[in-house]
């Protein structure tokens, strides 16, 4: 046990003990711990294995940049693979396990990959696994796939819930370090509505590591909490910066508990539409490449300081701190103060004004030196570039290669990062959106300086959002200037020096990529997979670029880093999905009669967004029986069907008729008031878009019906044309689909049934003929009646204000009782429509013209219509195109299948068309179908084959008229 808890200090609740479990062993920690800090406090050093070489790894960082310490968190349905131990808040009963090792973490057989090192260097797989050809599929790839991945996904559905929340604010501050708190305070004092998001579970960022500033932090947080116009969101990581100042974030509402409380969500997806944004996301320490920089015991200097100061944990006994900048000196001091063994400070710079103070504290300072080797127990320290050197006993090695401002969000907003030589890093470039960076994000380090900069940014942001009032508040002292950093990336010594720890990418891999021509930073990244792991290259991306730059003989800034894209931290699928998933993926639409259907035993099925009754089985009925019974009732007497899902659009205005004339291939301006007409609408390219009946209710008032599926697209089509193509037309329209329920009453006894139910309308053939429209009352409810038919029988449709649908439906049922009226569902309806040969969805499939469907003659002779011009193109006017026909099997025992193809002979490689709709027919007592067949008209009465190789079936069929019943259309006019 080389790491351990200090007797005092840190922001943990030492009075409370929580139990947790890692790899089957149980440990204790305190509230305020992360899993990483608690493991360290218990002396656990080995926590994971790397991706490719399966090298043993320890905890490297104290934040989202962690490449090594990934665990499977929780168990069963709540298992979360690849969870960074540094980001897990400890809670009582927490269960975690190491991953990507077999059979165990300490003894991992896959680590033999490490010995094959040079043979499996970057990109090796592109050059091999090709011989012999068949081995890739059979042997190599299965092996690669088995070795892939880190943790395991849960295999059961997630029991937790998520939700989405959308907010507007004047100033969004991202990050609650010195800069963020000051920015939020300044903007809040100015009167702006401020939201401040902090990834961590306590606000403060770097302030949490500075005991001297604890009081100021407390005051600031208290002040902000007291301001009604400021909201502080902790555990909330902003993951992306999108167009028009929209930012996305995830709030981890209950991840810090074993499971969410009742009705509590696990995470909350949030978006913020901000007038102004202040990015105060701090900076991340970067790695130095040297042999063994991945060994358990290697820990970033800043992380070591975090464990000491925030968690009261000494991460090792004998430490070597390896730096090129001043920040790590504080780590060395803190380690020395913590009173553990020997502390050595290795600085690549040849001078340091701080050296004397270190020596005075007993720290062994080695200037102009570097660490040439680390194996977890010893470190080799030598003069820069020299040979030999001194071996130190060291179980902790803390590199600090300098600090990279966290420019990810700024870059995502469109601001191209700019190279800042004095920091040897990128800082945010010129703003493209209403955004400004502050503090370390901008390269302004030190608590005092960052706070000043934050206050400035907050004031400016508030002013830009229209809040100019300024109010001073106390800020911490600004510290002395730091000594310049000496850019330093890699120790050239033999051994594996990693630039990407999780993916096992070494400095040598980067050079190999360059040697092979993958010299552009994006190519090198893809070739080596550098920066593509779950830590997103936060530690080593720039180091890789610097090594590439050296190989190319160019400055780092000429090489750059790969583009920053969402997400700044990986985001749970469930969070982004929010509540709109599973049964709530999209709103379910139910008709006004839904409850009646359920009470009466309907089998409901989804069709698009709607739930519709498919049929109403009687006890004992199976298979097609209820469908046949319902359809027979309609053909022989009367049935009633809920057709409310049809789209209904109310069109009004002096130009309503002209508007419809331009949308439909037929004419509506000539339609008499009180009549309806079937219409067909084309897309701009001449293909049929939709069909339906339109009624003229008054000179300037029409009611359009659309197919169920196209209700929204047709409305959109109308709006597009009304607004952009014909703005001169005086026409208004809106959807009334939900306002009106609609009921079909069909069958030879439908007139008698309705006559008994309807008041105020004479239904006789003379007064109310086929395609008539009228108004009346049923059970006292005013209704609209349309004499139209989909089934091919004498039929009516009745439109009822939705709230009264059931009353009217029941009244019709009562009136039809003497005739044995039955409710019928979608299946019987489609059986009858195929018998009747009406084109529907499968035929109106976006590939057919009006002529293909036998409706070519509906096109009016003159006048402009959407789709007319393009419908005249030779390819669409070609008479050889597939035409709508009927088919019937020659052997009436054979079944037909939708999706079969029509061929001359079985085995033919040329299709003449396809079968669009099939049903068992009650009139013909066999399967019948509709098909689209080339030259179909000419092939009437000929025999061809409907083949379905997918089913290994081939059925000889006769081509017929599509109208399998009543081709003369007499019944509807009866």
């Amino acid at each position: 046990m080389t790491s351990k808890r200090l007797p005092s200090g840190g922001l943990i609740d030492r009075g409370t003990t929580v139990r947790f479990n890692f790899d089957g062993r149980s440990f204790t920690g305190h509230p305020g711990d992360t899993l990483a800090s608690a493991l360290l406090a218990n002396g656990v050093r080995l926590v994971g294995r790397s991706f490719k070489y399966h090298r043993p790894r320890g905890i490297m960082t104290a934040g989202p940049e962690e490449p090594n310490a990934l665990v499977e968190l929780r168990e069963g349905a709540r298992r979360e693979p690849n969870t960074k131990a540094t980001e897990i808040e400890l809670h009582d009963g927490l269960v975690s396990a190491s991953q990507n090792r077999w059979p165990s973490l300490a003894f991992d057989l896959m680590s033999i990959n490490g010995f094959a090192g040079p043979a499996i260097s970057a990109g090796f797989y592109y050059k091999t696994f090709m011989w012999p050809k068949s081995f890739w599929e059979k042997l190599y790839e299965p092996l690669i796939r088995r070795a892939a991945g880190l943790g395991r996904a849960a295999s059961q559905p997630d029991p937790d819930h998520y939700e989405a929340m959308h907010a507007h604010c004047d100033v969004l501050v991202v990050g609650s370090g010195a800069a963020g708190l000051a920015a939020a305070r300044a903007a809040g004092e100015a009167g702006a509505r401020v939201i401040i998001c902090e990834r961590d579970f306590v606000p403060g960022g770097g302030l949490l590591l500075s005991p001297a500033d604890a009081a100021w932090r407390g005051d600031m947080v208290n002040a902000l909490e007291a301001m009604p116009n400021v909201e502080i969101l902790t555990r909330t990581n902003v993951f992306g910066y999108y167009d028009h100042n929209l930012l996305g974030a995830v709030e981890r509402v209950s991840d810090h508990k074993a499971e969410p409380d009742q009705h509590e969500v696990r995470q909350r997806y949030r978006t913020f539409r901000a007038k102004q944004v202040v990015l105060a996301t701090g900076a991340s320490e970067r790695l130095i490449a040297f042999p063994g920089n991945d060994r358990p015991g290697a820990m970033m200097a800043g992380a070591a300081l975090t464990y000491l100061r925030r968690f009261g944990v000494v991460p090792g006994r004998n430490a070597v701190v390896f730096t090129n900048n001043d920040s790590a000196y504080e780590t060395a001091l803190a380690l020395a103060e913590a009173g553990s063994g020997k502390v050595t400070l290795v600085d690549v710079r040849s001078q340091s004004a701080l050296a004397a103070a270190m020596t005075a504290r007993g720290i062994d300072v080695r200037l102009a030196s570097e660490v040439a080797y680390f194996d977890g127990k010893t470190a080799l320290v030598r003069r820069r570039g020299g040979a030999g050197g001194d071996k130190f006993v060291a179980d902790l090695l803390c590199p600090s290669g300098g600090w990279n401002p966290n420019v990810q969000l700024a870059s995502q907003s469109g601001a191209k990062p700019r190279w800042e030589a004095t920091l040897a890093s990128h800082v945010p470039g010129e703003s493209v959106q209403a955004e400004r960076s502050a503090g370390a994000t901008k390269g302004i380090f030190g608590i005092g300086a960052a706070a000043y900069d934050g206050a400035r940014a907050g004031r400016e942001a508030a002013a830009a959002a229209g809040f100019a009032k300024a109010q001073d508040f106390a800020l911490p002292e600004r510290g002395p200037a730091e000594q310049p950093i000496a850019p330093f990336w890699e120790v050239k010594a033999s051994g594996k020096s990693f630039v990407d720890l999780q993916h096992d990418v070494t400095a040598e891999d980067i050079r190999l990529a360059h040697r092979e021509g993958f010299s552009h930073v994006e190519h090198a990244k893809r070739y080596t997979t550098h920066g593509m792991a779950t830590d997103q290259g936060k530690l080593g991306s720039l180091v890789g670029s610097a090594i590439l730059a050296e190989a190319r003989g160019e400055p780092v800034e000429a090489v750059g880093v790969p583009t920053h894209r969402p997400y700044t931290m990986p985001v749970a699928f469930g969070a982004l999905a929010g509540h709109a998933s599973g049964a709530h993926f999209q709103p379910v639409r139910r008709t006004a009669l839904n409850d009646w259907h359920l009470r009466n035993g309907a089998v409901m099925q989804p069709t698009g967004a709607w739930l519709r009754p498919f049929f109403y089985p009687k006890p004992g009925e199976t298979g097609w029986e209820p469908i046949f019974r319902e359809a027979r009732a309609v053909r022989s007497s009367v049935g009633i069907c809920d057709v409310s899902t049809l789209g209904k659009i109310d069109v009004q205005g002096p130009d309503a008729a002209a508007f419809l004339d331009r949308l439909y291939i037929n004419t509506f301006s000539t339609l008499a008031v009180g009549k309806c007409r079937y219409g067909v609408m084309l897309r701009e390219d001449g293909i049929v878009f939709d069909d339906g009946t339109t009624s003229r209710l008054a000179e300037d008032h029409f009611l359009v019906t659309t197919t169920t599926g196209n209700a929204a697209p047709v409305l959109e089509h109308m709006e597009f044309h009304a607004q952009t193509v014909w703005p001169e037309l005086d026409v208004q329209f809106c959807s009334v689909t939900d306002q009106w329920a609609q009921v079909a009453v069909a069958g030879p006894k439908s007139r008698e049934t309705l006559a008994a139910a309807v008041d105020g309308l004479d239904l006789s053939n003379e007064v109310f003929p086929f395609m008539g429209v009228g108004e009346g009352k049923i059970a006292g409810v005013p209704v609209r009646l349309f004499r139209i038919s989909f089934s091919g029988e004498l039929a009516y449709e009745i439109a009822v204000p939705s709230g009264h649908a059931e009353t009217v439906w029941e009244a019709i049922l009562a009136a039809g009782k003497p005739f044995g009226i039955v409710p019928y569902g979608l299946e019987a309806m489609s059986l009858m429509r195929v018998e009747k040969g009406h084109a529907a969805g499968p035929e109106l499939n976006g590939q057919t013209t009006a002529a293909d469907l036998g409706m070519g003659r509906m096109m009016k002779k003159s006048g402009d219509v959407i789709g007319r011009v393009l419908a005249g193109r030779p390819g669409l006017a070609d008479p050889g195109r597939p035409r709508l026909v009927g088919i019937r099997p020659v052997d009436t025992n054979k079944r037909l299948r939708g999706g079969a193809h029509i061929v001359r002979e079985p085995g033919s490689g040329t299709s003449m068309g396809w079968v669009s709709s099939v049903t068992q027919s009650i009139e013909h007592a066999c399967w019948i179908g509709l098909a689209m067949v080339e030259n179909g008209e000419a092939l009437k009465n000929q025999r061809v084959f409907a083949v379905s190789p997918l089913h290994d079936e081939s059925v000889e069929v006769t081509i017929t008229s599509p109208h399998h019943v009543d081709p003369e259309n007499l019944r509807v006019r009866a």
Binding site: R78, R79, E80, N82, P118, S121, Y126, K127, T128, F129, M130, W131, W136, E137, E141, I144, A148, G149, L150, A153, D158, G240, G248, E508, R515, E516, G517, H520, T529, Q536, R565, Y567, P570, A572, F573, G574, L576, A577, A583, F585, T607, E684, D685, F689, G841, G846, Q847, P874, G875, L876, G898, G899, A900, H901, G909, T910, V947, S948, P949, H951
Partner: protein, 425 residues
């Protein structure tokens, strides 16, 4: 006569790999050279994506035309060739498409050997799920068409879907799974490797791949193309083939052509790497979502266009919310996994969602574009057909229908019937 280019690396072989690994991998040479442009070429291909590089490879290897340059505005392969979700399949129903994509799939099946480069073509199957009887009929029509043309397809019922993809929720109340259409020869390939493999193979035959060279104009004289203006000066050419995917409209404008193409955004995503979970490619018929798992373990997925025209290569949140909702609805176990990265590419959407590989009204100028979101699988076939069309000045039977004239003539190849509405395709 310029000096013949220095031959590149030896062939990759087990022996060579061993030798290099014993000598610190120091002997590997660049996979392709970085030459200066010559004054003129027999053929210039604009666009160093998969299609442009494949065209150069087949011009050299099939037609013996090696005085060829591929000019690319950035580094090669960072357009859609390096941004796609790597799905390869030929499960198209309309013969004009089936013919072409099946030829492409056959080329994929021997690509490693042809290129001496492992592009990791992995035929683990592409499964298109359907959620209703009518969707099944549509899938059956497509599958039967494939089978009639000699392409593999199978119709799976619910139980068969369960056994090949046990992670799928079969009983979503609004989108129950009725079954799926499976093409077992479909799968995925490693997109970057395809780019690099074609680049290396073309380079080995003497093709100049000229990166960081943006075409800014297409020079014509008397109805004939004479070369291209670039950011590195004018380069003469007897023939110019354009294969720039998302930038097709821009290049067409340079040649005074207006094409029925709109540029739209398509986003894609990858999750953190997990142990094997999803074997093949699965696409959903509801909610626009498809997913596969890479050899490294990341789940790669995508869905719909963003719905507005753009060249921004970014993408916005509404599509993300919808897509992730679909993902979790279809595969509930995804919920606690994490999305690592998101990106977007510019889609060259045509008015029937099919591509074109064809001559233009300008002599010596050829266009290859309109790939919508399906051009990765076309890469070898597209290069092969484009090379044929350029070399012979006439299309091969495989791409004879893939013209721009078809829009004038009303011979659209509209697989899904979505029509001239890219946002709905």
């Amino acid at each position: 006569m310029p000096a013949r280019p220095e031959r590149m690396t030896d062939r990759y072989s087990a022996w060579r790999l061993l030798k290099e690994s014993l000598s610190g991998n120091r002997g590997w040479k660049p996979a392709w050279r970085k030459p200066e442009p010559k004054a003129s070429y027999d053929v210039i291909i604009v666009g160093g994506g998969g299609h442009g590089l494949a065209t150069a490879h087949y011009l050299a290897s099939v037609h013996g035309i090696t005085n060829v340059a591929v000019v690319e505005k950035g580094p090669i392969g960072l357009g859609n060739g390096g941004r796609n979700t790597t799905i390869v399949r030929s499960n198209y129903g309309l013969p004009s498409n089936t013919r072409f994509y099946e030829h492409s799939l056959k080329l994929w099946e021997g690509l490693e050997q042809d290129l001496n480069y492992n592009v990791m073509m992995s035929q683990r199957g592409v499964l298109n799920l359907f959620h209703s009887d009518s969707q099944r009929d549509i899938a059956a029509r497509r599958g039967n068409s494939m089978r009639i043309q000699g392409v593999d397809a199978e119709l799976l019922d619910r139980e068969a879907v369960r056994s090949v993809a046990p992670f799928i929720e079969l009983d979503n109340p609004m989108f129950p799974i009725f079954g799926g259409l499976m093409q077992r020869r479909g799968g995925t390939a490693r997109h970057d490797a395809v780019i690099w493999g074609f680049a290396r193979a073309a380079d080995r035959r003497g093709v100049d791949i000229i990166e960081h060279c943006e075409v800014t104009g297409i020079r014509r004289e008397a109805g004939r193309v004479t070369g291209v203006e670039t950011t590195r000066g004018f380069i003469g050419a007897k023939k110019v083939g354009v294969a720039v995917a998302g930038n097709t409209s821009r290049l067409a404008t340079m040649a005074g052509l207006s094409l029925p193409v709109e540029s739209h955004l398509l986003q894609a995503f990858v999750s953190e790497a997990i142990k094997p979970m999803i074997d093949g490619v699965v696409t959903f018929g509801a909610g626009h979502f498809y997913i596969s798992q890479s050899d490294k373990g990341g789940l790669v997925f995508g869905g719909d266009l963003d719905g507005y025209n753009s060249y921004s290569q970014r993408g916005n949140l509404p599509v993300v919310e919808h897509l992730l909702g679909a993902a979790v609805s279809m595969i509930p176990a995804l919920s606690r996994l994490r999305v690592l990265r998101q990106w977007a590419g510019i889609m060259d959407m045509t008015m029937d969602s099919s591509p074109f590989i064809c001559k233009t009204p300008i002599d010596g100028l050829y266009f290859n574009g309109g790939w919508c979101y399906g051009g990765f699988k076309a890469t070898p076939g597209s290069g092969w057909c484009f090379a044929h069309t350029i070399a012979r000045n006439e299309p091969h039977a495989f791409n004879a229908d893939l013209t721009i004239d078809r829009f004038r003539d009303g011979r659209m190849i509209d697989e899904r019937g979505a029509g001239p509405n890219p946002w709905a395709q």
